[in-house]
């Protein structure tokens, strides 16, 4: 947790030092959540050029994001997905459970359909790639703050493209995750407490569902779509 601006002795950590001396009363209050300090600094630098926006806190993990959100009650949260400890989508679920009206924009490097679907189903109102332009980020913040939603069309199309393919089951994903870690079918069978023939059946089903030619191809596709983490 990097900023706790409700604590009087931590006011010096606030971006107000670097931003406008007198922020606009109606400024959109933003919490930035990312484990990379450079990313947080970059977002802060972009946001603080805007008179109607203000970064009120930064968090470096999902757990810290939940605590800070409850404390600061920001208008908009900019949330990374991959962080140590609690992941971004888990943090979104927890924040939205406590604050159903929380407005959250995912800002991530992940462009897989599974990542986006998980985040959006968890309650994210926006999904942007970190490669997005500055203008997109600012528009998304304003739009989401006003009650709208914002999605990169590439992500939306990606989500739609995979509707025609049957989603792999949890068990199949577990099998593929172990395969991605270098386990043989025999080792996977042992670790999951199933037979080797069942592992082979899961693999065959996975190849069909993912349109994969072989084991490596299946792992590659699943990682790209965000179905497994490497």
């Amino acid at each position: 947790m990097l900023a706790q601006p409700r604590e009087s002795d931590e006011r010096a950590d606030l971006p107000l030092q670097k931003g406008p001396l007198v922020p606009t009363p109606a400024a959109i209050r933003i919490l930035v959540v990312d484990d990379h300090p450079f990313l947080r600094e970059g977002v802060r630098a972009v946001v603080e050029t805007q008179p109607d926006m203000r970064v009120v806190g930064e968090a470096e993990s999902g757990d810290a994001a939940i605590r800070l959100h409850a404390e600061l009650m920001p208008d908009v949260v900019l949330m990374d997905l991959q962080m140590p400890g609690l992941s971004g989508d888990q943090a979104i679920t927890a924040i939205r459970k406590r604050s159903p009206g929380a407005r959250i924009v995912v800002l991530t490097t992940y462009d897989g359909d599974a990542h986006a679907l998980r985040a959006l189903r968890a309650g994210a109102a926006g999904y942007l790639l970190k490669s997005s332009l500055r203008k997109d980020l600012l528009q998304a913040i304003r739009s989401v703050h006003a009650g709208g939603k914002h999605l990169d069309a590439h992500i939306a199309t990606d989500i739609a493209l995979h509707v025609v393919s049957e989603a792999p089951s949890e068990r199949e994903i577990a099998v593929l995750s172990l395969a991605a870690q270098g386990n043989s079918n025999k080792q996977i069978a042992f670790r999951l407490g199933i037979s080797e023939d069942t592992v082979k059946a899961h693999m065959k089903a996975l190849f069909s569902k993912l349109g994969a030619a072989d084991r490596t191809h299946a792992v590659t596709i699943a990682a790209k779509r965000g179905l497994i983490d490497l």
């Binding site: 528009q139 998304a140 709208g148 939603k149 914002h150 939306a156």
Partner: protein
């Protein structure tokens, strides 16, 4: 800018409201050459086989994303709900598409469009666009009983309400989309609604 946008869209002028040229054009959310293309969308279509016309074209152009986002609950199409899709690629001419919720089609009234256009206009202004269009998607959603005068008055009223929220705007062209077969009757209905405005 205004002239070229009009020409590119074969638009028919309705009037100018505080610097914004309002027109109707035989375009839809795919074919309109504007920065932001807004399309109205209900929670479902009255026809069992889903959307038709321009809304179907938009869904097809975006790989089925429009209907998928709705069926997944990511966009619920509640009245006034707005989902922006940025970085839209051809064949859609606009760079951003707004899906604007219009609720249950069975409960549809002309006033539904007032809220939808108002929400779309507010989002267009928020995004600082110079040109935008709105496609109501009524016929595309299976709604055929439409009073053109009432629809035009409500859509125009919604636009003015949306514009009023932000007087300093870079928006200079707003186009209401319609089918080529209805262009003249739609233009006449909007012209009548515009003439009835207190300070038009």
């Amino acid at each position: 800018m205004t002239a070229s946008t009009f020409s590119a869209n074969d638009a028919r002028a309705i009037g100018n409201w505080r610097g914004v040229e309002i027109a109707v054009a035989p375009r839809d959310a795919v074919t309109a050459q504007v920065e932001i293309a807004a399309a109205g969308m209900f929670t479902h279509e009255l026809a069992a086989d889903g959307p038709a016309g321009g809304l179907l074209d938009l869904d097809t152009a975006m790989g089925g994303a429009v209907t998928r986002l709705r069926s997944d609950g990511i966009f619920r199409a509640a009245p006034g709900e707005v989902l922006a899709l940025s970085h839209v690629v051809p064949p859609v001419k606009a760079s951003t598409v707004l899906l604007v919720g219009m609720g249950d089609p069975a409960a549809w009234e002309a006033t539904t469009l007032h809220g939808a256009v108002s929400a779309a206009a507010a989002e267009v202004l928020r995004r600082d666009a110079a040109s935008a269009c709105f496609a109501p998607s009524l016929l595309d959603s299976g709604i055929h009983t439409v009073d053109p005068d009432a629809v035009a008055a409500q859509m125009l009223g919604g636009l003015l309400r949306g514009l009023a929220a932000s007087p300093d705007t870079s928006l200079n062209v707003w186009i209401f989309c319609t089918g080529l077969a209805h262009i003249e009757s739609t233009r006449a209905a909007f012209a009548k609604a515009f003439a009835a405005l207190p300070s038009a």
